[in-house]
């Protein structure tokens, strides 16, 4: 088993929490894992990405080779496209469609979404709305994790445990909101494909 996943977003959008939960779940499942993340300057509103590699074999590189990622999970559509060169031909792109505009020259949205739709294996939806509808507006990142959960080869319960471990110290209310958001994301992805 091998899953190479690129997580993408803008500094502050919570992709490192997604990475931490998948990481925790992978370790609990007895799998090997390497997860490279971005700290420092880019976290101030710049583009951030995390390379997450899970395997039952030894993993060498901390970085995924270009053309080697099975999956891109993105919380922002332009950031999803930034890492397209990493995606393997039949890989899946799972992305939020809500743009995050903190630069003056953000591209034309329509054209951007066309480029997103050009990817064959695609799950794209408004994750901000899904999060808001269940009363967990700040858990958009967990909605995206839920949307990707069927593609990780990790049992769903392990991801739930991951949420409990990572958010546990923030209190039960936050844990429940995130669990709910992940579930809503899973349903949203299923709807996208049906």
């Amino acid at each position: 088993m091998k899953k190479d996943i690129i997580l993408a977003g803008v500094g502050g959008q919570g992709i490192l929490s997604i990475a931490a939960i998948i990481g925790q779940a992978a370790i609990e499942s007895g799998l090997n894992l390497k997860q490279a993340e971005v700290h420092g300057m880019s976290q101030r509103g710049g583009d951030v990405q995390s390379h997450l590699r899970i395997s039952d074999q030894e993993i060498f590189s901390d970085l995924i080779p270009q053309g080697g990622a099975d999956l891109i999970i993105s919380v922002e559509p332009m950031e999803a496209l930034r890492y397209k060169p990493y995606l393997v031909g039949n890989g899946w792109l799972i992305t939020n469609t809500v743009t995050f505009k903190n630069i003056p020259n953000y591209p034309n949205e329509e054209k951007l979404l066309q480029d997103v739709k050009a990817i064959k294996n695609l799950i794209a939806f408004d994750a901000n709305k899904v999060a808001k509808d269940i009363g967990a507006a700040r858990s958009m990142n967990m909605v995206m994790l839920g949307a990707a959960s069927a593609y990780l080869d990790i049992p769903y319960e392990k991801l739930e445990n991951g949420i409990r471990t990572i958010f546990g110290r923030k209190g039960e209310e936050i844990v429940q909101a995130n669990l709910k958001a992940m579930k809503a994301g899973r349903y949203a992805a299923e709807e996208c494909l049906s």
Partner: protein, 527 residues
């Protein structure tokens, strides 16, 4: 046994803790920050009362570490690569004093300059100082190496460098722990003159350092971290250092057809190098950072057999990755889709609501009549004020240089000469140049952007917190020219006026825009 999921930085910290650490010293700097932060969070460190507060800068941190070693205890001092420039004086001299309790100097380099102003390679410092260095290739080694580092450090009475680069520093993997070692008890140096570097002593100590180089090299030859793996195809031999080893093995899916020498301990192991160079037709040197090993092997007379970054087989600058190394190994490129043209760069920027933004707006208005090239700045979030829409600053060189450069420019007759420096940077290296300014009555305005925190590296405590005015007055800045303003848009006009008044004053002025970073109250302030 359960694995701990640790960043490379955290693995070093956990390794040091388990190897009997009594103190962690350092100044925050990406990508090294998480080493001390991990010790600060570790429950066990609290129970054992391991020293774990930040120091004012890397030099004081290195010297404090040397003091703890003097008293016989095991210690780690951490910094980013450019921090070692600041700590270079004690680091170089520690090669002569040596260590009593084990010292690890953990330095995190940043090839490709993700969050840095250069990409210098700290292994050059270790070679320069004639000190051993360890360079982990993965998180498990990062955890295990402190055990060996302390052993070597106490056996040879020398500090040992642990060099790591961004990618490993900030990459997580499962780590299996070893049995812990208890801390050393206090033990004064066996030789009371060990740390005395009067020239007559220093000469002897230098000769001693030279005399044990062969022993250090033998340690590398026998190191569990340096590994020679034979391969059938001897048309090429590969020497891969630290993390670079992974990129080679990634491309060969774990089995190299060529002999490969993994180097994770320095000085270079002669025996293995001689073997691979004599057996193979060509030698590809793959190393993260600068071509240190390649240069040593190639030599001034340029042995054509050695290839790597110097002949263009690998790029001369920047971080390695699997793709770059694949090309150097002459393997077919992996198919990949192009990036759509719609994708636009998204550089980092000051956060919405950042106090620096309001400070810069007011400063810009006050400076309008003078045009560009008057504001010398420094290292921190506020360096982003160079970017539009602010375009408020003109320089960024090294910690503290804003004030010193403003002095030099003012000395040359340049007016106005303004320095913009953050509170934590001021504590790190801004106080001594301000003393210069007062002593020579330089006509400068120093803006100390006080956001209550070391923000860029992730909200660490700032050493000068709550005492900036006292420090300035103590140095001799006139009280009426130390002006505190509140950088909020509703105070814009009065802030512009303060800047204008202090620019007009012929002498040293300090303006302190004071408003906490918007993230300060979102996060619990750390130690």
């Amino acid at each position: 046994m359960t694995k701990l999921l640790l960043l490379g930085d955290e693995a070093i910290a956990q390794g040091a803790l388990d190897a009997g650490l009594s103190g962690a010293y350092g100044y925050p700097g990406t990508p090294s920050t998480e080493i001390v932060e991990y010790v600060q969070r570790a429950e066990e460190a609290g129970k054992r009362n391991v020293h774990r507060t930040w120091s004012a800068n890397e030099k004081t941190a290195m010297e404090e570490a040397l003091g703890m070693s003097y008293a016989g205890k095991r210690v780690i001092v951490t910094m980013k690569h450019v921090g070692l420039n600041v700590a270079a004086d004690p680091y170089m001299n520690s090669a002569l004093t040596g260590a009593n309790g084990g010292i690890i100097v953990a330095v995190a380099d940043d090839p490709s300059m993700h969050s840095s102003q250069n990409e210098q390679d700290s292994r050059y410092y270790a070679k320069f100082a004639l000190l051993p260095a360890l360079e982990p290739s993965n998180q498990q080694e990062a955890y295990e190496m402190p055990f060996l580092a302390y052993e070597l450090s106490e056996k040879y009475h020398l500090p040992v460098m642990m060099r790591i680069t961004t990618r490993l520093a900030h990459s997580r993997a499962g780590v299996i722990r070893k049995e812990s070692i208890t801390e050393n008890s206090i033990q004064k140096p066996e030789n009371p003159d060990q740390f005395m570097l009067l020239p007559a002593f220093a000469r002897k100590k230098y000769n001693h350092l030279l005399s044990i180089q062969e022993d250090l090299m033998k340690e590398s030859e026998n190191s569990p971290f340096n590994k020679y793996t034979d391969g059938k195809d001897k048309s090429l031999g590969i020497i891969a250092c630290g993390l670079a080893y992974n990129y080679v093995m990634e491309n060969y899916a774990g089995i190299s057809p060529h002999p490969i020498l993994k180097i994770c301990q320095y000085p270079l192991p002669r025996k293995q190098i001689e073997k691979i160079v004599s057996e193979c037709d060509r030698i590809l040197v793959v190393e993260e950072g600068m071509p240190l090993v390649e240069e040593m092997l190639k030599g001034f007379l340029e042995n054509p057999k050695i290839i790597g970054r110097l002949d263009g087989t690998l790029p001369r600058a920047g971080e390695l990755n699997p793709k770059i190394v694949r090309k150097a190994l002459n393997l077919p490129e992996l198919e990949s889709m192009p990036q759509p043209e719609t994708v636009t760069g998204r550089p980092p920027a000051l956060c919405v609501g950042c106090p620096h933004a309001d400070s810069y707006k007011a400063l810009n208005e006050a400076m309008k009549e003078f045009g560009k090239c008057h504001v010398f700045s420094d290292i921190g979030c506020y360096t982003l004020g160079y970017l539009p829409p602010y375009k408020a600053i003109d320089t960024c060189v090294d910690m503290g240089a804003s004030i010193s450069m403003a002095i030099g420019a003012a000395d040359a007759g340049w007016f106005p000469a303004v320095a913009a420096i953050g509170d934590s940077t001021f504590g790190h290296s801004g106080i001594t140049p301000l003393l210069d300014a007062v002593l020579c009555k330089a006509n400068i305005v120093v803006i100390i952007l006080d956001n209550d925190i070391t923000a860029m590296t992730g909200m660490q405590y700032s050493q000068v917190n709550g005492r900036i005015e006292q420090i300035c007055m103590g140095i001799g800045v006139e009280k009426e020219h130390i002006r505190v303003i509140n950088p909020l848009s509703r105070h814009h006009e009065e802030n512009v006026k303060v800047f204008k008044e202090e620019i007009a004053y012929n002498g040293v002025s300090v303006v302190i825009p004071r408003r906490p970073c918007i993230h300060v109250y979102g996060k619990k302030k750390r130690i």
